[in-house]
């Protein structure tokens, strides 16, 4: 026989879920957001992993910088499997008109690509596109941006260095593009031989060469890598394999998942207030039934179980609805946008992300439902004879359960976060914000109850409602406030970063960077620049020796990457830009140690960026071994310095004393501030005497970044808007819960002679106040969350987007006031007589 509580619960549920629509909506929204974020991330992860070979361009990719592969290396690779070589560099492309543009040129050897397909327009296949013409000019596939910029069309010729190319096809896609990352200019794909002929990849020049290997079917990844490492001990090869073909994209997906998941969680918490309000309102309507059951002899546990079962069934329903929407959203995204996505994705229904979302949903339902349940269980049976008797909630199973569920939510958030610190900060931030907003709601209620006596008419009525037991301030203020806080944090971080890109960086960063300046022609280069810019002052033009190198040993021991935190490993994972400077520069930013004397010629010394040093556990006096231009240089750390990345000065992670690299064929880079016309004129002028010098337009890169920001801003704000939607649901719940009482109140007021306008005004006052308080407090809290992110994490200038902030506050007040208007219209639409008769 079914337990009594189940039987009674089923009888109650026959009455339908009318009072639980907001409960279901709040729960479903949060669960759907988390499920959609996790499922989409999983689809991208699976997509990346299913195309790992294509993304890497083979099973293994081995790269070197500023040199070619030695015959020994080539022999070792050949033993491992089928090998395809490629080489890439940045270079200036020049049209017959004299227009010039930085491009990323890549030459590929026969057999490319080992995996996947190159997508071309204008040529049947890669062979046709890259084949030389009858007069020996190499064919190239180019991105459309190059054709636009140099005003070329397919079939036209252009120069890179002193070599001529024919733009024979439009390069629409390369299988290994994601694995290669960001490009500074349009891509040009040609044959390896053609690139070799340009001189761009001569030893010492800034370029990278890669060997991609397709292993035989019988060969395993691990042993193959080991065999290569064993055969080439001490080699500076950067080895990647198909198991982690695109680490940058993987990290991006992880962070995106967490950001979107966090918004889902925030909306679940904001919606939790809706769950709380809905359960409380429902149990309020069941108060008489509970008292009757107790009068009939029912004990507390029966009452608790009877309503717990109902809430559990409805929570299950809400979670199922959320999972349905959350699982369908990525599938829909796949249908609509699959071909336009930058990262391959395998859209499907994945159980693990859905299980995670379901667990979040159920824990949130428990955390927010159990307290009102405890209150209901404590309803004294005497409330049958006297109204307004509330149950006193003390220590009970329900309150313990609510606390455990809350801790479970926090724990699950920590476990599923990429970093514990980030998750802890976010949890603490949301908890503090919610607590403060809750407190503010109570302060609003308290203040309204004190102030209303000094007011009259509609204002007094509005304040009385604000102070009353059904006040929207208690649940709607925190929920809407949290949504506004999230949105305003996003708006304020975006506005500060956009300002950094649009206003700050163009003033502080160089407008143009020149690379590949031959070391023996620096004076001539300075003169060429001076001819366009006039006198070369240090605030407008600086030139530095430039070379790349990799840190191979710390304090005499080989670098153990695993000992360095992943988010601080950048200086040990990549080749670093480094320079040599004699006398201490004006903007050295020394944190500790002392710069070497201007004419220093002793054992090598190095100035190191402080964070990179700290990641490796290095301090002044320690030794550092670098692999530079094919030789090892062990230097003593003389200086730790703070580098103004992107500023107008020597922004190198490492600076050596000049004697350390004496005799090496060193190139230089230069940075300059200039107007756009000067940039155009100088770019053209350098085409004559310095065709190999690359001109990188920082201005253009910043404009590109600003455009990307603009495109992303809407999507990110849209995602954060989900939390605001949860706030509105809570408001709707609050309006719905009070609808009956409001109708009676409006009917009574009409009987007493109140005009419709007065009643409308009273409701607008109440709800408008809730919206205004939530809006202002939300913006303040959002600002408090955004400020440290802008100042400490991005090290940017704090800029407030006043129009965005004002529209958020106005939006919150307007939407909430609108909710009040709807509540009023609903209440006023009912004729007084039937309402009062039914009371």
């Amino acid at each position: 026989m079914t337990p009594l509580s189940f039987r009674f619960a089923l009888r109650e549920l026959r009455g339908g879920v009318h009072g639980f629509r907001i409960f279901l909506a709040c729960l479903a929204l949060g669960v759907a957001a988390i499920a959609a974020a996790s499922s989409t991330a999983e689809a991208f992860r699976r997509g990346l992993s299913s195309q790992a070979r294509e993304i890497l361009g083979g099973d293994l990719a081995l790269s070197v910088e500023q040199r070619g592969f030695t015959p020994k290396e080539q022999a070792v690779f050949a033993r491992a499997g089928r090998v395809v070589y490629s080489a890439g560099a940045h270079a200036m492309a020049q049209a017959p008109s004299g227009d010039r543009r930085l491009v990323e040129i890549r030459g590929v050897g026969a057999g490319y690509p080992l995996a996947g397909q190159v997508t071309l327009e204008g040529a049947p296949d890669l062979g046709h596109a890259l084949a030389p013409s009858s007069d020996g000019v190499a064919g190239a596939a180019v991105e459309p941006a190059l054709l636009d910029r140099l005003r070329l069309k397919l079939g036209d010729r252009f120069l890179i260095g002193n070599s001529s190319f024919i733009a024979r096809a439009i390069l629409a896609g390369e299988p290994d593009r994601i694995g290669r990352g960001f490009a500074l200019g349009p891509r040009v794909l040609t044959s390896l031989a053609a690139v070799q002929a340009t001189g761009l990849i001569d030893p010492g020049s800034l370029h990278a060469e890669t060997a991609r290997i397709a292993l035989p079917a019988s060969s395993q990844l691990g042993p193959a890598i080991k065999a290569i490492r064993d055969a080439l001990p001490g080699d500076d090869l950067l080895v990647r394999d198909r198991s982690d073909a695109a680490p940058g994209a993987r990290r991006l997906i992880d962070r995106l998942e967490y950001f979107l998941g966090f918004i889902g969680l925030a909306s679940l918490l904001a919606g939790g207030l809706g769950v709380f309000g809905a359960v409380q309102a429902y149990l309020e309507t069941r108060k008489t039934s509970i008292a009757v059951l107790k009068a009939l002899g029912a004990e507390g546990p029966l009452v608790r179980n009877l309503y717990l079962i109902q809430i559990a069934v409805l929570a299950g329903l809400g979670v199922v609805i959320g999972l349905g929407v959350g699982a369908a959203a990525p599938l829909l995204l796949g249908l609509i946008a699959k071909t336009r996505l930058p990262i391959p994705a395998l859209f499907a229904v994945y159980p693990l992300p859905l299980a995670k979302a379901a667990l979040f949903g159920l824990l949130s339902a428990a955390a927010f439902s159990l307290e009102p349940l405890a209150r209901a269980r404590a309803t004294p049976p005497a409330s049958l004879l006297r109204q307004n008797l509330g149950g006193r909630v003390g220590f009970s199973l329900e309150t313990v359960g609510a606390v455990l569920a809350g801790l479970g939510l926090a724990g699950l958030t920590l476990v599923t976060a990429p970093t514990v610190l980030m998750a802890s900060l976010m949890i603490a931030g949301v908890a503090i914000a919610l607590g403060l907003l809750w407190l503010l709601g109570w302060v609003a209620v308290w203040t309204a109850s004190r102030v209303r006596g000094r007011t009259r008419g509609a204002l007094r009525l509005g304040l009385a409602n604000l102070a009353g037991p059904r006040s929207a301030a208690r649940t709607a203020t925190p929920a809407i406030g949290l949504g506004v806080a999230l949105l305003s944090a996003v708006v304020l971080i975006q506005s500060s970063l956009l300002d950094q890109v649009r206003a700050v960086a163009p003033k502080t960063a160089p407008a143009v960077v020149f690379t590949e300046i031959p070391g023996d022609r620096t004076a001539a280069f300075d003169r060429a620049v001076g001819a366009v810019l006039g006198a070369l002052r240090s605030d407008r033009y600086q030139r530095f020796v430039f070379v790349t190198g990799r840190i191979t040993a710390l304090k005499g021991r080989p670098v153990d990457r695993k000992m360095i935190r992943e988010d601080q490993r950048w200086a040990y994972d990549n080749d670093l830009s480094l320079s040599t400077i004699g006398p201490e520069p004006a903007s050295a930013g020394i944190v500790s140690g002392a710069w070497w004397p201007a004419a220093y010629a002793g054992p090598p010394e190095v100035a190191m960026e402080e964070k990179a040093a700290s990641a490796g556990g290095l301090k002044v006096g320690d030794s550092l071994t670098l692999s530079v231009l094919g030789r090892d240089v062990t230097a003593r750390i003389a200086v730790l310095r703070k580098v103004d990345w992107g500023g107008f000065g020597p922004d190198f992670a490492l600076i050596l004393d000049p004697a350390a690299l004496a005799g090496a064929p060193l190139r230089s880079v230069a940075i300059a501030r200039m107007s756009k016309p000067q940039e155009v004129a100088l770019t053209r002028a350098l085409g004559q005497d310095f065709p190999a010098v690359n001109v990188i337009s920082v201005r253009e890169q910043l404009e590109g970044a600003a455009a990307l920001f603009d495109r992303l801003a809407l999507a990110i704000r849209g995602a954060a808007g989900v939390a605001a939607l949860a706030g509105l649901l809570v408001l709707a719940g609050s309006v719905a819960a009070g609808a009956g009482a409001r109708a009676r109140e409006a009917a009574t007021l009409k009987v007493l002679g109140a005009a419709r306008g007065q009643i409308l005004l009273a409701y607008m006052v109440e709800y408008g106040a809730v919206g205004l308080i939530a809006g202002v407090a939300g913006v303040a809290l959002g600002g408090a969350a955004a400020w440290p992110v802008v100042i400490k994490v991005f090290e940017a200038r704090w800029v407030v987007d006043w129009s965005g902030v004002a529209s958020l506050v106005a939006g919150a007040a307007f939407l909430t006031g609108g909710g009040g208007l709807l509540a009023a219209l609903h209440a006023l639409a009912r004729r007084p007589a039937p309402v009062l008769r039914s009371d």
């Binding site: 009594l4 009888r11 009455g15 059951l293 107790k294 002899g297 546990p301 029966l302 049976p381 004879l385």
Partner: protein, 230 residues
């Protein structure tokens, strides 16, 4: 608790409740005893404390002072669940506002106290009692589908189905028209007599009060007339 103990014995019962304007003394030392099968009417003006007296006597509320014994059991010694267990099968209540469970049918409402008491034959018993109050045809109806008089007859069936030894009725005809009130009163007195239960009834109706064995008049929280204790 002994089987010979009287159903109800109240000694010097006081009830003080908090309010916004300060504590309010509702009952000021009430003594009342009810014997098995006895029918007692509690009368008096509104606000004299009649309903509060019922709430304390039925164990729905704790007195601020004094002793309340239900079947010899001191209610102060029991927690809320203990008092609920004590009521099961022995004490029933009928209210002025009927207080049927809105999501249960008439039959389920009548069966509810039997089910709570663990009676496996709750369904047939409930149907039999609905038949007794003349509502056999309405057993699948929900409260909102019944008239006021029908709802109170269902409430009466629910109160008596477990054949309690003590029935409290708080103005049972207060919300009914004269015709329905007469039907409910006849039923109540007939059925109470049939099962031999004691009855404590709050009423404003002198005619109704006159049908009981004894009348107790309350005023300002005290018993001002009538035999206070047997």
């Amino acid at each position: 608790m002994t089987s010979k103990a009287p159903p109800l014995q109240l000694d010097r019962i006081e009830l003080t409740l908090p309010s916004a304007a300060g504590p309010v003394r509702i009952l000021k030392g009430v003594d009342l005893a009810v014997e098995a099968g006895e029918r007692v009417a509690v009368v008096g003006p509104s606000g004299s404390g009649k309903s509060s007296l019922i709430a304390i006597a039925a164990g729905l509320e704790r007195p601020s002072a004094g002793t309340a014994l239900l079947f010899g059991q001191d209610l102060a010694a029991l927690d809320e669940d203990g008092r609920a267990r004590l009521r099961r099968g022995r004490v029933s209540l009928v209210f002025q506002s009927f207080h049927l469970l809105p999501n249960m049918t008439a039959e389920e409402n009548v069966a509810a106290p039997l089910e709570i008491a663990g009676d496996r034959g709750a369904g047939p018993t409930a149907r039999a009692w609905l038949d007794r109050v003349g509502l056999a045809e309405r057993r699948r109806h929900y409260p909102h589908q019944l008239s006021g008089g029908e709802q109170q007859r269902v409430a009466l069936a629910r109160a008596l189905a477990a054949q309690p030894a003590l029935l409290f009725a708080d103005e049972p005809t207060g919300n009914l028209d004269a015709a329905n009130a007469a039907v409910v009163v006849e039923l109540m007195f007939d059925l109470v007599a049939e099962i031999g239960a004691a009855l404590v009834m709050v009423t404003h109706d002198p005619a109704l009060a006159a049908r009981t064995d004894r009348q107790v008049t309350m005023g300002d929280g005290r018993i001002v007339a009538g035999e206070a204790a047997a």
